[in-house]
């Protein structure tokens, strides 16, 4: 929640991790996509945000330690290290090959092992159930060496399959005995191990009770929600005289729909010919951000809670000052009051004059994304806003109205720009109709900005419903602000399902087209069959799917 997360930049880096990992696995022809993907948010949040570490000085004495006990998640781990800057990501394509530094299971880096490892790897894993004990050793040593206030943390990632090992529980007892409050274990609870589902092979539940009974402070999170992971890690820092266990409920293979929660994909590589389509799927992750000013302008807390239950990705907050736009909604004080309602990221869209003068209030209100209007600031003002937001760990964004082109100066600010909102209505009032003429603008802008180094997200805002979502998706948008489409009809549950469904249909259609271009359509449909069945009608592939074996 809030500080130091820079939500969209973090999401984007984790997306890149998955994309590199799948390329490595496909090139190698073997490896573990399932565990790499279930742990992507955990490792990404640690390496890109939480941990003290320095890729240019991996042996830095004040670093936090990361021990990857479930070492078969190696492709994900290597990709995380590469995206963090430890080595060039391209090298991931040598994974598991003879002569590569990237061994099937990571090897502790040393002068002696430099041909079989990369800097930043502390521990040689592969045999299960050992890493937690190693983490205990490091934590004990660090307690001897450093004063309490600057003690390094030791983070250990463990798996639920490896929790079958007795040594995990030996370690669990020992960490409790030694009161290791500089040790944080994170359990990647994806519920699948090599032979099948964990609760069939060797049940682990009640997991939380077990760890608590072993004298650990236990937190439980959705392991694919970075905001929840950050929140738990922040809480972990406040725990004294006890080790911390964060149970991260995850989905094995999360990110590729036909691999997700499927035991078959524990340790199997996708065919290399599928790589491009898989990359497209990973790139296509989309985020839904309901705008709470839609419908009745009251009971915002209730509206937030209702969409949180439906699994939306963030909350869109339309701030209108009655001057930049004719309408007035709410300001930073309201956001501050709403903040404790949810851990979902706050996507604040400031439709206000002179945003620089008020930016601090929105930073203090703990927004996660703050977007200001290009029409409301000068280049210098925007640069200052951007700098302050980045320093505060907030994703900076810029919005343009339907009639506005991006200012030329924006091209000099792309490096730290996390989102651009392309308005598809004239802002100021809720419930307007989508302006289709912004679609070609979105396509052109997306292309042009990417060419100049923009790595962030395009957000579609204004008149988004099931139909226009698909259109803006095709035009390159990956964040969708939905107001009336969520809150308008009274059936919030049904509306969110409908939006997700339409987004899924759009995705499947694009992937099928891509597969067709690559001449692998039947093969792709075979791999994807159980995913495609519910959409067969809308995609018009019922018959084709029927004959696919």
């Amino acid at each position: 929640m809030g500080f130091n997360m820079r939500y969209l930049d973090l999401k984007r880096k984790i997306r890149d991790v998955r994309m590199w990992a799948i390329q490595g696995i496909a090139e190698a022809g073997s490896g573990h996509p399932g565990a790499s993907f279930s742990a992507a948010e955990i490792m990404g949040t640690l390496y890109f945000r939480k941990m003290k570490h320095d890729p240019s000085n991996p042996g830095w004495e004040d670093r936090d330690y990361f021990i990857n006990s479930k070492a078969h998640s190696a492709p994900g781990f290597y990709s995380t290290l590469a995206v963090a800057g430890y080595f060039p990501p391209e090298e991931i394509k040598t994974l598991r090959k003879l002569g590569s530094r990237l061994q099937g299971h990571p090897v502790r880096y040393s002068e002696h092992q430099k041909h079989h490892s990369v800097p930043g790897i502390e521990y040689s894993g592969g045999s299960e159930g050992i890493g937690l004990s190693v983490g205990i050793g490091i934590a004990l040593a660090r307690k001897l060496d450093s004063e309490k206030n600057k003690r390094n943390k030791v983070y250990v990632l463990i798996g639920d399959g490896e929790s079958n090992e007795g040594q995990i529980w030996e370690a669990s007892m020992a960490a409790g005995k030694f009161k290791l409050d500089n040790l944080v274990a994170i359990l990647d609870r994806n519920r699948i191990q090599q032979d099948g589902f964990t609760e069939d092979i060797m049940p682990l539940d009640p997991t939380k009770d077990k760890w608590a009974a072993f004298n650990w402070q236990v937190f439980e999170v959705d392991g694919h929600r970075v905001e929840q992971i950050v929140d738990a890690l922040n809480k972990a820092a406040q725990v004294h005289d006890k080790p911390v266990m964060i149970i991260a409920n995850t989905i094995k293979g999360n990110g590729i729909r036909h691999m997700a929660n499927n035991p078959q994909w524990h340790g199997k590589a996708p065919p290399k010919r599928h790589t491009e389509v898989l990359l497209e799927e990973l790139e296509s992750e989309c985020l839904i951000a309901p705008s709470i000013i839609a419908g009745e302008r009251e009971n915002y807390e209730d509206k937030i809670r209702k969409v949180e239950r439906e699994g939306v990705d963030m909350i869109h907050l339309d701030v209108m000052d009655g001057r930049f736009v004719p309408n007035t909604t709410f300001f930073a004080d309201t956001i501050k009051k709403l903040r404790p309602t949810t851990s979902l990221p706050f996507d604040a869209h400031l439709m206000i004059e002179k945003p620089l003068e008020q930016i601090q209030e929105y930073i203090d209100a703990r927004c996660d994304i703050i977007t200001v209007h290009a029409e409301a600031c000068t280049e210098n003002e925007f640069r200052e806003i951007q700098e302050r937001l980045v320093d505060a760990g907030i994703s900076p964004g810029i919005a343009i109205n339907p009639g506005t082109d991006v200012p030329k100066w924006l091209y000099y600010c792309l490096h730290d720009l996390d989102v651009i909102i392309v308005m598809s209505v004239n802002p100021g009032f809720a419930g307007q109709k989508f302006m289709p003429e912004v679609l070609p603008k979105m396509v052109a802008l997306n292309k042009e900005l990417r060419k100049h180094g923009f790595k962030g997200y395009v957000e579609a805002d204004g008149g988004i419903d099931a139909i226009t979502l698909q259109q803006s998706y095709d035009a390159g948008a990956r964040i969708f602000v939905a107001g009336a489409a969520v809150y308008g009809g009274g059936d919030i549950h049904g509306s969110v399902i409908q939006l997700r469904h339409k987004a899924a249909v759009a995705l499947e259609k694009r992937l099928l087209n891509h597969a067709t271009q690559l001449n692998i359509r039947p093969d792709w449909m075979k791999a994807r069959k159980h995913i495609l069945i519910p959409y067969a009608n809308e995609l018009g592939i019922e018959e084709e799917l029927h004959v696919t074996k």
Binding site: S110, S124, G126, G129, I130, G137, A139, L140
Partner: protein, 323 residues
């Protein structure tokens, strides 16, 4: 003077504990992990002196050695100790993957090796550890012959980076070396007595028996060289070859299965570099059994670990020698 001039016994474990305390005094990086056997291993002495650097993890050997690995990753010199039956017996995987593969600075110093464990019986009589530890890359295997060797070798392994396995005996044992002897280099053996007709290469408690055998043979006109090969890995290849060339026959003696231990290590060198007849004295691929402390000599006799058995083997090897 290499050898002790007086006949006395001393306790290897007690010496280990004292030496650890001494090392701990001079080097704050020395830490120790124990497994509910700290009294028996005498590492308790270290724990009493430096409680913050002693970690007792209870009866959990896999955790024990892995915690030691973690301590070494964070810059410590970690001694991990319990009975030889359990380290390496219960944690070869952790020793191999977690400690040896990355060559961590962990010293596995264990006691109660071999048949001389006595009353506890075969489950506690570790007889396969030289073989298993020797086969893992980066691991070095050190088997001291007496308490003096323990004192020097503990210091040596503490200052030599990387993993070591050292096995101590349970009973007090005959002191072989003079107190100030300092000839304990990893990878070197010590020639305790010279001779020209055969060489007995022994380690641990069998070094004393080897000397007795040499004495007996000398009385019968056979001149026997006696080598204490405390460094089973790396083995003193040069010395083994030299003995093969100069004496023409070799007998090994160890408190270990004859498969894969000192006998194996010596044979490998001899066969490759200068083949001569070799006889291996040790436990013949079987498990031991209980014996009360006062019956231990009889137990060793029953399993063929005596001076007489060594002398017999020397004569046999010599009879086939071409020298």
């Amino acid at each position: 003077m290499l050898l002790s001039s007086e006949k006395k016994t001393a306790d290897m474990r007690g010496t280990y504990g004292d030496t650890l305390v001494e090392l701990g005094r001079d080097d704050p990086r020395i830490v120790c992990v124990g497994g509910d056997t700290t009294d028996s291993l005498k590492t308790k002495k270290f724990g009493d002196k430096y409680p913050e650097r002693m970690f007792n993890v209870g009866i959990a050997e896999a955790n024990l050695v892995s915690v030691a690995a973690g301590l070494s990753i964070a810059g410590k010199i970690a001694f991990a100790s319990t009975y030889a039956a359990f380290i390496p017996g219960r944690c070869i995987d952790q020793i191999r993957n977690t400690i040896c593969y990355p060559s961590l600075n962990v010293k596995l110093v264990v006691s109660h090796g071999g048949l001389t464990v006595g009353p506890d019986g075969a489950t506690h009589q570790q007889l396969e550890d030289f073989a298993s530890m020797r086969a893992i890359p980066n691991m070095r295997v050190i088997i001291p012959a007496d308490a003096v060797a323990v004192k020097h070798l503990i210091k040596t392994i503490a200052r030599t980076p990387g993993p070591f396995y050292m096995r101590l005996a349970r009973p007090s044992s005959e002191v072989i070396y003079a107190d100030h002897a300092e000839s304990f280099e990893v990878g070197r053996g010590n020639v305790l007595e010279d001779g020209s007709d055969a060489t007995i290469i022994a380690c641990g408690l069998m070094v004393g028996r080897a000397r007795e055998a040499a004495e007996e043979l000398r009385r019968n006109g056979v001149s026997c060289r006696v080598v204490d090969m405390f460094s089973i890995k790396p083995i003193d290849k040069q010395l083994v070859v030299k003995c093969a060339k100069e004496t023409g026959a070799i007998v090994t003696a160890e408190e270990h299965n004859i498969i894969g231990g000192l006998g194996g290590a010596v044979s490998e060198v001899v066969v490759e570099h200068h083949p001569v007849p070799v006889r291996r004295v040790g436990v013949h691929d079987t498990f031991g059994e209980s014996a009360r402390d006062e019956e231990i000599d009889t137990l060793l006799e029953k399993y063929g670990l005596t001076a007489t058995e060594i002398a017999k083997a020397v004569l046999e090897a010599r009879s086939r020698s071409r020298k």
